[in-house]
């Protein structure tokens, strides 16, 4: 009970700090914070699949892109209402994840990873080549940020980055809360059981394949949400969102922060974006510097940054107690 109150307090403090960012920080810092939150939504959802269920997907960029293009195309053809657009993006991602997941979840481990990679690359080349619909290699450009209106009663403008920031923050907070609740739920326990021992899960009466598909689609929905928000942020949707290098980002971020906690991928997102900004100041080849850092963390920090920190914390409190 005590730990729960402490966690709730910490979450409230972080939320307050995030609310203060647009009033205190400069334009660029606001932008970077938004990028961190977008990657955070992507990675927190993704880690339900990787950390909780033990399935390694290399194709989640496709669902991110589905979210972005879903919002973009919905804006062009139906309505530029941002919330409806986000909903359209998430629905597009869910539908695509259902299709891809249905094909992939009958396999596990390396076969699953390669199948998701293949599906992701197919989506990428589809987006790249369907120029009439997606704009091909130019992407979908000119996505606008209309005000968020509630049945025409009142309107909240999101035109500037500082205004848009709060929409991102709302979705970020909702995503983290949802992921937290899922991890604590019976459904989350079922996923952990599948990770630990899929065969035994079947003998416990769990329809394993259906649960794998469910979490695959769920993580796809998080990816779609992040993608649709990025489309609004950058005013475009680009085919490289579906590329496998982008699919690798939540994998790296989860490894960096730690697979076994909710906080892991969030901390990983902060490190990832911050490092990219810092290293890019010195060299074009930021991936080289990033590779070195990743090596150090994977070899030196078992269980990612959060895994190591919580290990130290546990040791310290054990010493206090004993």
């Amino acid at each position: 009970m005590k730990a729960q109150t402490r966690n709730a307090g910490a979450a409230a403090a972080v939320l307050l700090a995030l609310c203060a960012v647009p009033f205190l920080a400069g334009k660029f810092a606001v932008y970077l914070t938004m990028r961190i939150m977008l990657l955070g939504i992507f990675a927190v959802g993704y880690n339900l699949l990787l950390g909780q269920t033990g399935l390694l997907s290399f194709g989640h960029g496709a669902f991110y892109a589905a979210g972005a293009y879903g919002l973009g195309l919905f804006g062009v053809h139906v309505s530029t209402h941002p919330l409806l657009g986000v909903a359209a993006g998430v629905v597009a991602a869910v539908l695509l994840a259902l299709l891809v997941g249905y094909l992939c979840v009958r396999h596990t481990e390396i076969y699953f990873a390669m199948l998701t990679l293949a599906c992701g690359m197919m989506v990428f080349s589809l987006v790249w080549n369907a120029r009439e619909i997606t704009g091909g290699d130019d992407g979908l450009i000119g996505i606008v940020r209309s005000p968020v209106s509630f049945f025409g009663l009142f309107k909240i403008p999101i035109g500037t980055d500082r205004q848009f920031y709060f929409l991102v923050l709302v979705f970020f907070a909702l995503s983290v809360w949802a992921a937290h609740r899922i991890r604590q739920s019976p459904f989350g326990l079922a996923l952990a059981g599948i990770r630990e021992n899929a065969r035994r899960s079947e003998f416990a009466g769990v329809p394993v394949r259906r649960y794998r598909l469910a979490v695959f689609v769920l993580s796809g929905a998080f990816a779609g949400l992040a993608g649709s928000l990025e489309a609004l942020l950058e005013s475009n949707a680009r085919p490289f969102m579906a590329h496998w290098t982008h699919s690798a980002e939540p994998v790296l971020v989860s490894l960096l922060g730690g697979l076994s906690s909710l906080l892991g991928p969030l901390v990983g997102s902060v490190i990832f974006i911050a490092m990219r900004e810092i290293i890019q100041r010195f060299t074009e080849n930021w991936m080289l510097g990033f590779g070195i850092v990743l090596l150090v963390i994977i070899m030196g920090f078992r269980g990612g940054v959060m895994g190591t920190l919580s290990g130290l914390f546990r040791k310290a409190s054990a010493r206090e107690g004993g």
Partner: protein, 260 residues
Amino acid sequence: MGEPLLTTRKLSNHFGMVCTARDLDLTFEQGVLTSVIGPNGAGKSTLINLLTGHLPVQAGKIHFQGRDITRLPIHQRVRMGICRSFQIVNVFPELTVAQNVMIPVLARTGRLWRPIRRLSRETAVMRETEAILEKVALLPERDTPATALSHGDLRLLEVGVALAAAPTLLFLDEPTAGMNPVERVRLLDSIRQLAREGRTTFVVVEHDMDVVFSLSERIIVLHRGEILCDGTPGQVRADGKVREVYLGDDVSDLFRCREE
């Protein structure tokens, strides 16, 4: 007596040239504690694997409570009431003892599919989990991760996870393997107790003859995928063929060891 719990008709299985089940016609009655014995490679594990869905059936039919389950996937058989434990401990290693038992309880009561509800609110499930842990004498270890348990406790947990599915028919594959005598007595006592309660019918695969003859009301002897003998412990003990291929072997093996 009523309808038999489970029947097989001409159930067969082979791995390449090796036949592990040949036209098996078996009937399991409600409430009869049955043991399956036989020398190594007799097809004991294959039989369990076929009946529980671990192995696909190559030929023949399985009926459970009158329903054809030959092609049913594992989890649906579990829902219907057929469960098993494993010869080699096969639990959820990183989860706590309570969580291990909770998964089948949640699955059975249809509460597993709940993504937003807090697990700690499922008080009915908690109570049931504790009752099962009590039965297998693991309640004091409820918050211990399974990996930290001793071998004997792991075997008990193995049985606990199987029991948590509240099966009407439960196959135990060498439940006492690797246990020390104290743990063995404890486990056999709880099996006897549970069998007497009558909700679960046990079918036990065992190597230890003392266990088999003291526990069972019925013994099925398998040899090279066929039924050699099927009857009460007395009938099996008196059977000449069994002595020849199995007990006799065992005895002569024993003598050979003594001589060396």
